[in-house]
Point group: C2
């Protein structure tokens, strides 16, 4: 896909409003400030907008006011496309590391972010607004057409209480028996999936015992080194995307949009 020959799109913004040609979209104070004073954009400059439902659109800045900015939607750049059905369940980590998890999981294409409290989870609350802001920013940067759903933080076994029976949950645990992750994911094949990453201190043995009894749980191993939780998030999601998700030739567009198609290979 190459961009139509018009003024270049200077940034991508996630918005709530419906998107269609000639639609007006208002931006709040923070976004207006960002466009005007950080990116130094002006009336007539083009940005891209998406809302998770209507695809991505080119929009043009109409004007700025005190603490607001208004855009007019011009034309669609990309239709909405499906995204992989992949959830991430993760034990909240301390600030910094949890920001990272939201950012990375969004780039890695998860459709749902589910913070879950385990026995050894250190933080006992989650700043959902902050998590969501990190996910939105990552979605804007990584060319996604959607922002992952963020569920209410729940104790692990409450989150698993009414689990859909056809969804496999890949349990990444350092202790206990587990198949190598690529082998286990290949054996499972494409299906709705979820990845569960525990806290820095690992799961409690009683949790592993209880998880082992659930029919949808597939314990997987991520090699002989102890990975930090945030590393394990990216690693496990990469394995799934590359074997069963949208990084495969079956997964739809496997290359980022709007990039040159010049061939680096001879």
């Amino acid at each position: 896909m190459t961009e139509p020959s018009q003024s270049p799109v200077r940034t991508r913004l996630y918005v709530d409003s419906p998107l269609a040609a000639d639609q007006s979209v208002g931006l709040d104070h923070e976004r207006a400030h960002f466009l005007r004073h950080v990116l130094r954009l002006d009336r007539g400059d083009a940005v891209a907008v998406f809302n998770g439902r209507d695809g991505e659109w080119r929009a043009v800045i109409d004007g700025f006011g005190k603490g607001w900015c208004s855009l007019t939607v011009v034309e669609q750049r990309r239709p909405q496309s499906g995204s992989p059905d992949l959830w991430l369940l993760f034990a909240p980590l301390k600030k910094g590391r949890i920001d990272f998890v939201a950012e990375k999981a969004t780039e890695m294409g998860v459709s749902r972010l589910m913070p879950v409290f385990t026995r050894r989870t250190d933080p006992n609350r989650v700043n959902s607004d902050r998590l969501r802001a990190n996910a939105v920013e990552a979605a804007e940067q990584c060319e996604r057409l959607s922002v992952p759903d963020l569920t209410e933080p729940l104790p692990l076994f409450r989150a698993l209480a009414d689990w859909p029976t056809d969804r496999k949950l890949f349990l990444c645990a350092e202790a206990g028996t587990a198949r190598p992750i690529a082998e286990a994911m290949r054996a499972t094949g494409p299906c709705p999936a979820a990845v569960l990453i525990g806290p820095e201190g690992g799961f409690d043995q009683s949790e592993l015992d209880e998880l082992g009894k659930l029919p949808f749980v597939v314990p997987v191993g991520l090699g002989p080194r102890i990975l930090r939780a945030d590393t394990a998030v990216v690693a496990a999601l990469a394995c799934w995307q590359s074997l069963s998700g949208d990084w495969t030739a079956d997964g739809g567009d496997t290359r980022p949009p709007f990039r040159s198609s010049a061939e680096p290979t001879a």
Copy 2:
């Protein structure tokens, strides 16, 4: 592997000295401070030490002095084992993100870290001491028996000038034609490998053209989203480790050492 029944090992330290039973090991000011004032260890407490050559050993603290600490090596906990032959070439990123790359690449088991300058690389120097400190810390935490070699930062094509012909270089580029990463890595099979991750701004088209002419370069795609460079590092390394590296059943010990073998699965 379960730990012999002795006082528990309280931390893991990378040291330069040779390791053998009854050997004395001196620690510098910083390490001595860490053991005494951060971990609050005392004479007789046990720590684990490794040097990248002699495996991992249990050692006992003999005593602390002004700015030093001495240990006596007691017995081997694990023999030295081979690690995957996997190099990472990466364009230096700004502070924070580059620390992260050193940490994550070490956890992901790379044997060599090679900072390379590309046309669009922003930082024009690398703090090698800081990179190495991050790698050492990550090696200590992730149960590795070695610290990745860190090479002198070089311009990309100088680093590739005397490239070993049998080593494939997986080029992660957003632009240009590329096979999906898992497909390309499976087609290549197990061999000495390297992963090349560009700067945040991507490679220059002329670089991609030049890279495409090199017989050992294999362009690979990491899906339809634009990943940050640090995300791409973990993702590409996870794909390789899970398909051809030490996360596979052929790769040796696929589970972390010293963990309970209690089975989470029924």
